[in-house]
């Protein structure tokens, strides 16, 4: 893992330093850091010679570019109509109970963050969720508990 | 000039007689605007209260607008535009009475009579009003019904007192 400033420099080298390269760089940072800190936004602005406020304005527009500190695993449960019809609430409830956090929060150990998101395009396999970029569909509370247990164990194994 | 005492036998009068008497009163006072309050007093003595019709009558007689009459009479708390009941129940809400539970008594009165302050029961028996210190602080909380003073009333006594009058 690189320190953020180095990461940003590498990303800028890779994508370029023009305005239209901003989004891939922001995505690159989020991929590693899970969120965009004030510091990383300033560094990106400096690297691309952009006003910091514009970086902020752009970042806050997109729902996948978090600007608050996030856990290692970001759970995004789809809340749009089909998932909502097919039992999203029970799924969220199961996750909340298991991780002892509510939507929008991060576990104290910094491993999981729970978010709701708009349509993931998995309506035929509702309810669906993403953990980072891994897809889980046809969820039930039992299935969710199983999935999360796997993640917790993975983490326990020191991965 | 007709005085308040002279109109004490209004109970027996017909409406028409009452209006005639009021007309005489107004003429007595030379239809002057400066005498309006006296005239209103007399009118209230004759009719017991000042309904809209009486206001219109006075306005027409005095060539004033009814709005003007209403403007003056609503300023004074003595005048009433609503019929008064046979008994006017007043609870004192001066400081002493208030701290000794006048408010609770008032609430009890409200619920027993089913009317709010300033109103009269449908059977025209009771009217409810409040007073600001009647100088009976030693008897707090004090209540008057017409001219009789009831001392140290409490909510529980209310049904009894009212029941005796009915």
């Amino acid at each position: 893992m690189y320190p953020v400033s180095e990461l940003i420099r590498n990303l800028a080298d890779q994508h370029g330093r023009n305005r239209h390269n901003l989004l891939p760089i922001l995505q690159g940072v989020v991929e590693q850091e899970k969120y965009l800190s004030e510091y990383s936004m300033i560094e990106i602005a400096r690297e691309l010679d952009l006003p910091a406020s514009e970086v902020y304005g752009t970042a806050t527009f997109y729902s996948f570019l978090e600007y608050k500190k996030m856990g290692k695993y970001i759970i995004r449960v789809c809340k749009t109509i089909t998932c909502s019809m097919k039992g999203k609430n029970q799924v969220v409830k199961a996750i909340e109970d298991m991780l002892k956090i509510s939507v929008g929060e991060t576990t104290p150990d910094g491993n999981f963050s729970l978010l709701q998101t708009n349509c993931l395009g998995l309506c035929h396999k509702a309810p669906a969720m993403l953990i980072n970029f891994d897809v889980y569909t046809d969820l039930t509370p039992e299935k969710v508990r199983e999935i999360l247990t796997n993640y917790i164990n993975k983490k326990g194994k020191g991965e | 000039m007709i005085t308040t005492d002279e109109v004490c036998n209004v109970q027996t009068m017909t409406e028409e007689e009452k209006y005639n008497l009021l007309k005489t009163v107004i003429l007595d006072y030379e239809r002057k605007e400066s005498n309006l309050i006296q005239i209103l007093h007399m009118a209230q003595a004759i009719f017991g209260f000042l309904p809209v019709e009486v206001q219109h009558f006075i306005a027409n007689q005095m060539e004033l607008s009814v709005s003007k009459i209403n403007s003056v009479l609503t300023f004074y708390s003595f005048f009433s535009t609503q019929p008064k009941g046979k008994y006017t129940v007043s609870i004192c809400l001066g400081t002493a009475c208030y701290v000794r539970g006048g408010k609770e008594v008032l609430n009890k009165l409200r619920s027993v009579l089913g009317i709010d302050v300033g109103a009269t029961t449908d059977d025209k028996v009771f009217s409810l009003s409040i007073m600001r210190c009647i100088g009976a602080c030693g008897l707090a909380p004090a209540m008057t019904i017409n001219k009789k003073v009831y001392k140290q009333v409490n909510p529980n006594k209310i049904p009894l007192i009212l029941g005796m009058l009915k």
Binding site: R46, P51, S53, Y56 | -
Partner: protein, 596 residues
Amino acid sequence: MAKKIKITINELTVEVEPGTSILEAARETGVIIPTLCYHKDLCVAGNCRVCVVEIVGQKRLSAACATPCDEGMDILTNSFKVRNSRKHIIELLLSEHNADCTRCYKNGNCELQKLASDYKIMTQDFIRLVPLKNYTIDQFSPSIIKDDSKCIRCQRCVRTCEELQGVNALTVAYKGDRMKIATFFEKPMNDVICTNCGQCINHCPTGALVEKNYIEEVWDAIADKNCHVIVQTAPAVRVGLGEELGYEYGSRVTGKMVAALKRLGFDAVMDTDFTADLTILEEGTELLTRLKRALVNHDPDVKLPMATSCSPGWIKYIEHMYPEYLDHLSTCKSPQQMFGALAKTYYARARNLDPEKIVSVSIMPCTAKKFESNRPEMHDSGYRDVDYVLTTRELAIMIKQAGIDFMKLGDMPFDRLMGESTGAGVIFGATGGVMEAALRTAYELVTGRNVPFENLNIMPVRGMEGVKEASIRIENPLEQWAFLDGVELKCAVAHGLINAKKVMDSILSGKSQYHFIEFMACPGGCLGGGGQPIPTSPEIRRKRAEAIYAEDLGMPLRKSHQNPEIVKIYADFLEKPMSEKSHHLLHTKYSPRERF
């Protein structure tokens, strides 16, 4: 020229240039279409949608500001559909707006208020959204207050900050219902790159951005019998103030303004123009000194071009953006601060007053001056040099509060000692003015002759072009300036920070070689300052500039060094330009700031 296109607006056929928007075409034909997000200074956004019009044959309405005219277009600006939709949109805006007009600083000069009034929106059926949101008011900045509850998201401030000023302190953040105008990480305005220029205030249609006002504090000072309250007025105020009090754009109200200030109860009413003249002497001397060191001593440390330092917005901008170039700034304080420092020393001594009892107020066309007077460096008199800075708008409010019938006032002159000024001081209020004033004096000092321009009017530095250049060749100088013989003095003038950025970038890239550059933060210079009456537009700024130059032309003295009070202050107090004393009182230094 391309062929004109024919369109029909409200059954009236007109011809317009290709590329004309419907809005412009309508305005040319005397049809008023309401606007909010549209502003003449700025690019078209098309996001408020109140300017929608119906194009016959189209189901949807089009935003007049963003739709170019097309041959044969049949436009209705007031059809049933348009009226209904427009009313709906205004209602929507109102539902999102903290409509407490009676307590709003912009009451009476609010575009939303006017729109609501013109369309007589009498219902409030929609759910009020303001109480559902958690708005906070940012009032940490000494200059600007930002109240999101009054924001209608027209983004004029964002465009101003970006296009006119190149500062980008304000941006649009979030999306959907949470969308708002924010600074970086929603920090207070005081903690970001904001230069306090106040252009966002001038362009805000509602009360979402207003200056922090010090009216009450000044009234308190006036009421305090122990205080000696003196006031100075900047050059641009006298051509703007009238607009707030019922005069045409660009009316000169100098005499009435002085009379009004005296009526308000100020103990002495003096003129910033006096210190503008003083600035010319100090700054001119500084420039000549730098030139001498560069040309005669070949001193490698000498920093040329020298940049003016009168505009505090510009100063903060360069501190943020080009901190390595701070040495290029003239060390002179701005005229306001020179005045402040002298008020509590020179004036106090001359009037035999305890400087501690003096409250020094300045009336400025500028919001950045509020920040400037707050800088820790500005205590050279031993006290805070300028205690309160009021904008032109605030002064107008005070005059109204005091019940002064401004239009019926007689003219009065400034008080003496620091109230005399020359035409050179007056033109400080317009872009190019400082340069022109400096050249008038410097040229004469060097050559003993008038600048070679008719009527002393140095036309190349005047006007509203973003960057202006001029050069003067010096021939036959006086003996002590012989080293300047044949030198072509190259000058540039930039106004609006976006133009300042252009000039700085061209210097950085080595493309331009100048000796002296005048920078003013606001478009048009101080006359278009962030504290000037609203509205503002290129047209209005031009009228104010005309007024300034007319004022200059009408002055008996038009060169700073001729000002008798200036001569006197050097004789009595400061000795000579760049003396020890003036270094202490009239010059300052700058501190680099973070850009991000």
